[in-house]
């Protein structure tokens, strides 16, 4: 099932033609209407008429989060504020938030992309969608909301939090589709179990989860605990919000809606494209956005392109793998690049079903230290000291061989590692303080 079959299944050559035409328009527009881009283009001596093929995209400069901060709040907008009908902002954990604007047509585009995404995950106008993404400046809540309305589904705008009420409403209102972050979905599942509500007592059949990286194991876990099919959705507020890419029911890769975005995967160090299938940083150029177009935006999300046609759904748009980390989550410990997701994969590989862990990086003298706290689950608990020491040793050994550095492993009690209802905290770096 498709929302817009013509666009989603467009033959590749036709799609590329459309991309080029839209890219040229976008480049010309930002050159004339956004001083930041004109300065950047002039600095490296490139003009809009130099863009004659999709490959020429690589002549253009990257745009970074810092550029957005430097142009806070509105200086990257390509239309006057009178044309802007909605403003969102991403949380500014470091400094000022990133502000994005939408024209009326941008909102229509976004709603269509979200409707496509929901249909891609198997939703239809018959569904009751419980939208537990946060509403507000964050694009998650309203993005899904307008997509669900555009689709014609019944949307419950419950937003995040008050988990017992989420469960009650899910049961009483006959929710069929849950949308939220995967960690919040897990929290809902835990609360559901604590309340003694079984998945069979609800009509839930599908979950569309995103806004943070998650794993195949977490998918299986969520599917088992909630009795659903779980799908990964990708987006970021700078680009448009949720609805940039969506997994189809084949559950193997996310289709990027390429008639609106051009995706590249680059080596974060060199800026050069990586070989197809190799992991790298996702870079996105928007080619239809009016208020806030972006040229080669460095998402800092790490993923890999999945080559070949999708064997499952007939969509022609390229697929990316799950986001496996953030280029800025990368820790450099004793000179070694470490991603928290590597620790997760170690714990999964030794049989943890839902690892809860925290990396604590510190410095003693001139030497970086890494402590990894891991919650002991009942599954691995032993009444013998030796049993737990062996568990610690196995984790330590596996971590060492995966990360290439040694770490102290500390077993901690369940639920001692902070769970936030939005994003999970995985790293405490005390070296900065």
């Amino acid at each position: 099932m498709y929302w817009n079959q013509k666009a989603e299944c467009m033959p590749r050559d036709e799609l590329r033609e459309l991309q080029l035409e839209r890219l040229k328009q976008t480049v010309s527009r930002v050159y004339h209407d956004v001083p930041h881009y004109r300065r950047q283009f002039q600095e490296i001596g490139v003009r809009p008429e130099d863009i004659n093929s999709l490959e020429d995209l690589r002549l253009l400069p990257f745009t970074t989060k810092q550029d957005l901060r430097d142009n806070y709040p509105y200086d990257m907008f390509a239309v006057p504020l009178s044309e802007v009908v909605r403003i969102h902002a991403s949380s500014g954990t470091t400094g000022k938030p990133t502000v994005v604007g939408y024209t009326r047509r941008d909102l229509a585009t976004w709603a269509e992309l979200m409707a496509r995404a929901l249909v891609c995950g198997g939703a239809s106008r018959q569904d009751v969608i419980q939208n537990a993404f946060g509403y507000g400046l964050f694009t998650g809540g309203l993005g899904i909301h307008y997509g669900a309305e555009c689709l014609g589904a019944s949307v419950i705008p419950i937003s995040g939090g008050n988990t017992k009420r989420q469960v009650m409403i899910m049961k009483d209102f006959g929710t069929t589709v849950l949308t939220c972050t995967p960690s919040y979905a897990l929290h809902i599942a835990e609360v559901m179990a604590e309340m003694g509500v079984k998945p069979e007592e609800t009509k839930l059949r599908c979950g569309i989860f995103g806004a943070e990286p998650w794993s195949e194991n977490m998918r299986r876990n969520l599917e088992a605990k909630l009795g659903i099919d779980a799908y990964d959705i990708y987006g970021l507020s700078e680009v448009i919000g949720p609805g940039v890419a969506m997994e189809c029911q084949g559950k193997h890769g996310l289709h990027i809606f390429e008639d609106h975005f051009i995706a590249e995967i680059i080596d974060p160090q060199t800026g050069e494209p990586v070989a197809p299938g190799e992991p790298g940083e996702l870079v996105i150029t928007t080619i239809t956005k009016e208020a806030f177009p972006l040229i080669r935006y460095r998402t800092r999300d790490v993923t890999a392109m999945i080559e070949g046609e999708c064997p499952n759904c007939g969509r022609t748009h390229m697929r990316i793998g799950r986001i496996t980390g953030r280029t800025d989550d990368m820790l450099i410990i004793r000179g070694v690049n470490v991603f928290p997701s590597q620790v997760e994969s170690v714990l999964l590989s030794i049989g943890y079903t839902e690892p809860q862990y925290l990396l604590i990086v510190d410095r003693e003298g001139n030497l970086d230290t890494l402590e990894i706290q891991v919650e002991v689950s009942s599954q691995f608990f032993s009444d013998k000291v030796r049993g737990l020491e062996e568990l610690e040793a196995v984790i330590r050994r596996e971590i060492e061989s995966t990360l290439g550095i040694s770490a102290k492993v500390r077993l901690v009690e369940p639920k001692t590692i902070q769970r936030s209802e939005g994003k999970a905290v995985r790293v405490v770096d005390r070296r900065q303080i």
Binding site: S378, F381, D383, K384, V385, L388, E389, L411, V412, E413
Partner: protein
């Protein structure tokens, strides 16, 4: 029926043991014997209680990591050499004792000691054959 022991994972920080005993007290569960093994990072609390199944579920509900293991309760003469006799017997039978601890109350004829071995049934029958009194779970919980 062997004796069911409850074990609880504890981080070495203040208040954790008190939290366990609070949970048990609130559920009106009586502790009959206990021991704590600890390392520099964590501890394992082992408990014999009057209602092990309910103890397991209330502790789990309160978010503790809990296990249940079969152990043996042996009554032995409360006199020099009492424990040595039991340990000698187990050693001769090549049954490895992981750990042991004393019961808080007393049996009818002497001291009670809890043994953790891998081969619970074998140890039980060896001890019974040798004339030691091995207590059933139900008998012990209600002591």
């Amino acid at each position: 029926m062997p004796v069911k022991q409850i074990s609880v994972f504890l981080e070495n920080k203040s208040g954790r043991l008190a939290a366990v005993t609070r949970t048990l007290a609130a559920a009106q569960i009586n502790i009959r014997a206990l021991s704590i093994a600890d390392t520099s990072d964590f501890g394992i609390l082992r408990l014999i209680v009057n209602d092990p199944d309910r103890a397991l579920s209330v502790l789990r509900e309160d978010g503790f990591t809990v296990g249940q293991t079969d152990v043996i309760a042996v009554e032995m003469p409360d006199q020099p050499g009492g424990l040595a006799g039991v340990l000698d017997l187990l050693e001769q039978a090549q049954l490895n004792v992981e750990y042991l601890y004393a019961f808080i109350g007393r049996g009818s004829n002497g001291a009670l000691v809890i043994f953790r071995v891998e081969e619970v049934e074998e140890a039980q029958s060896k001890l019974s054959q040798a004339g030691f009194r091995v207590l059933e779970g139900d008998a012990l919980y209600s002591l």
